[in-house]
């Protein structure tokens, strides 16, 4: 049982995921997402000094996911973009979607819109990373 993910592909996939997140949560759905989570402009301003640390945390999280998808893609000998899409979709449905759903119903004061925005973000990110890591072995 040996597997060797392509670490360059893992890093590139994570960068793509991080970049998608920036687009998703800033120009695209930033306003709706903040409203749905009850985050105010004031809180954003107050949190500015934690921003760098938070962004590093997010980047590390996405990097770990990309690594796991890379391990699975390599272990299962995935090679086509369709297989990668399926891998990303499976990881999304089985884990990111299910976990986000519980987080959402368990956190008071959080609107379902926030869950939709988060779940959709994980879907495109996991599918994009799954495709990159399958096609680029």
């Amino acid at each position: 049982m040996t597997f060797q993910p392509n670490y360059l592909a893992v890093v590139v996939a994570a960068l793509v995921g991080f970049f998608l997140g920036w687009i998703w949560y800033t120009p695209l759905f930033g306003k709706q997402w903040m409203a749905a989570r009850g985050i105010t402009e004031q809180q954003i301003a107050d949190g500015q000094k934690n921003m760098a640390r938070n962004m590093i945390g997010v980047a590390v999280g996405i990097l770990i996911m990309a690594w796991a998808l890379g391990v699975l893609a390599s272990y299962l000998h995935l090679a086509t973009w369709m297989q990668g899409l399926k891998l990303g979709a499976l990881a999304w449905f089985g884990f990111a979607f299910a976990i986000g759903l519980i987080d959402s119903v368990m956190t008071p004061g959080r609107k379902v819109t926030a869950f939709y925005i988060d779940a959709a973000y994980w879907l495109i990110t996991l599918v994009a990373m799954g495709i990159i890591l399958s096609v680029w072995q």
Binding site: I39, V58, G61, I62, I64, A68, L90, F95, A98, I102
Partner: protein
């Protein structure tokens, strides 16, 4: 390339996870959990009628997680307790921990206790479900 999932094993894994989750968020860490989320006894009282719907969502999510693990166990031909444990650990680390951490990084309020209790519960769920769906085909 097709696999068969033992849905009885998935169902049992979801039921076991559900029971462990009830213990985790009830007698074990219930008080700390509610404090971390800012949930008061009055809110709990008010939310009573929502409870069945809420627990149904939790159960469905746990079933989905067990199913995702079973699909991976099927593709990678896992059969032993140790392999199931490793699968659960890896999937938890790569997806549950990361999704929870990213979620926590972007949230406001007392995030750390909530994150720790939540991700600890996911660790139990993933390991237990991973073992059940690997050993029982």
């Amino acid at each position: 390339m097709s696999i068969t999932v033992n849905y009885l094993a998935v169902l049992v894994a979801a039921i076991v996870s559900f029971v462990l989750g009830m213990i985790w968020h009830g007698p074990l860490f219930g008080k700390a959990w509610n404090e971390a989320r800012g949930v008061t006894p009055e809110m709990m009282e008010k939310g009573k009628k929502e409870m069945p719907r809420f627990l149904a969502v939790v159960f469905v999510s746990l079933f989905v997680v067990a199913w995702g693990l079973a699909v991976i166990a099927g593709y990678t031909h896992l059969v032993t307790l140790m392999q199931g444990l490793k699968l659960g650990l890896m999937a938890w680390f790569a997806f549950a921990l990361t999704v929870g951490a990213v979620d926590g990084m972007m949230a406001t309020g007392r995030r750390m206790p909530q994150f720790l209790i939540s991700t600890g519960s996911w660790l139990v769920t993933f390991v237990v479900s991973g073992i059940i769906v690997s050993c029982w085909h």
